[in-house]
Symmetry: C2
Subunit: 255 residues, 2 copies
């Protein structure tokens, strides 16, 4: 059922130009970094791209090793994290399709990227891509906009990390996740109910994101259930039953 929808979307896309077959079939052709490129430029870029797949848990790139590739996320969720010398870890971002991963114009990533779910990405060799980027203002412009969005959300999370209580943090995460998963599903042409979703993160991953411990996260879930703001099936399937209350907890101005 899911696959059928994806295919029909792709079929639809094939009407709109003479893109390379790989790009024609691309889930994020319309919204990713490449969306600003015309067919000719896309053909050019296509020459240096390669599809890559990762299993949930795989490391995609790592802090200290030089970046060989950049990538656009086609499918799945990528976790970006940082780590202190003694091992304390902090998730600093989640990448959903069609986010770009890697640090443009630098040969080092200052973070780790790993696959939270199974992930498919479209990769570009660093040097070539940097050159192409500098030579292609429309592409650079689009990537700049993606980067500005990331900066916005990083700052949003700084407020959360610095000033929210554990309960508020969990509420904010659920809302954020609900939103982004919803968008990702629509992107794939899937049906999607905003308030119902599978929580793809383990409690450990959530606690890394929120700057909390597993136990504290778990207690907040129990609290939210007890207050009837959410219900959970099998510890993974979330149903937001009182979004206004959750919004209020998360500090959203208009709920």
């Amino acid at each position: 059922m899911h696959n059928k929808n994806v295919i029909s979307l792709n079929t639809h896309k094939s009407n709109c130009g003479s893109d390379h077959p790989v790009c024609q079939a691309c889930e994020v052709r319309a919204c990713g970094m490449c969306s600003e490129l015309d067919t000719d430029n896309l053909h050019e870029l296509r020459k240096i791209t390669r599809l890559k797949e990762y299993k949930a848990g795989d490391q995609i790139f790592c802090d200290d090793e030089p970046t060989e590739n950049y990538a656009t996320i086609k499918n799945g969720i990528v976790k970006l994290s940082k780590i202190l010398p003694d091992g304390r870890q902090q998730t600093i971002g989640l990448g959903f399709p069609p986010d770009f991963i890697g640090r443009a114009f630098k040969d080092k990533n200052s973070s780790f990227a790993s696959a939270l779910t199974d992930v498919t990405v479209c990769t570009f060799p660093r040097e070539l891509f940097n050159d192409y980027l500098k030579a292609t203002p429309t592409l650079e412009h689009k990537l700049f906009e993606l980067t500005l969005n990331e900066l916005d959300s990083a700052r949003e999370w700084m407020l959360m990390l610095g000033r929210m209580t554990a309960l508020e943090k969990v509420a904010a995460l659920l809302l954020n996740f609900s939103e982004r998963l919803h968008n990702a599903r629509l992107l794939q042409g899937l049906e999607s109910e905003k308030n119902k979703f599978e929580l793809l993160l383990t409690r450990a991953e959530i606690s890394d994101f929120l700057g909390l411990t597993i136990e504290t996260v778990s207690r907040q879930f129990s609290l939210l259930k007890q207050k009837n703001l959410i219900s959970i099936q099998n510890q993974r399937f979330i149903d937001i039953t009182d979004r206004p209350a959750l919004d209020k907890l998360a500090g959203h101005e208009n709920y």
Copy 2:
């Protein structure tokens, strides 16, 4: 003495081209967003710029009001912050010369900016600047690089906010501040000892930055003094007396 140095630097700059007088005298001509522009383009941009001064404490722009202007910081330090509906506040960044402030391509800022010290900025009207930016790839490229740096440092602070202890946070702040003030002074052609600087933030401002309370920050300062890692004169003038130890506390890999 300080002023003498500034003047001599400006005099020096006047040799290097036919920039508009205002730009010739600009403290950040060589390193800011404009550094990538040749004289012709600079003349073009100059037409829409206006110098603006703020006193310490002044609000520069605010969350909900539409952005009228962007700006490049010429002098002083700008605080960026976010605020929860109930008033809890979190500083999400400090702007030093030659940082850009404002959210390119959007008509809303998602944060507040205020002057931490007396501040001089060079402002650009939003609409005009956005247009000029899109039409001038070298400028956009430079601004993109500045933005990437900001993203890097936002993520650095996320790790700090989420995973560091109060003592570590204060150590990290001191080192960060020492570095940035040092650079800002060199930029102005001033003598600068990296380990000695005036802490321009009040305890309240520091605690907003670190996600702590005033009292906790104060206690950590006392601890650092007691351990002989720093000494403080008049609660404002910091001397880092044991940088390696401070680096270690702040989780810097190589100290």
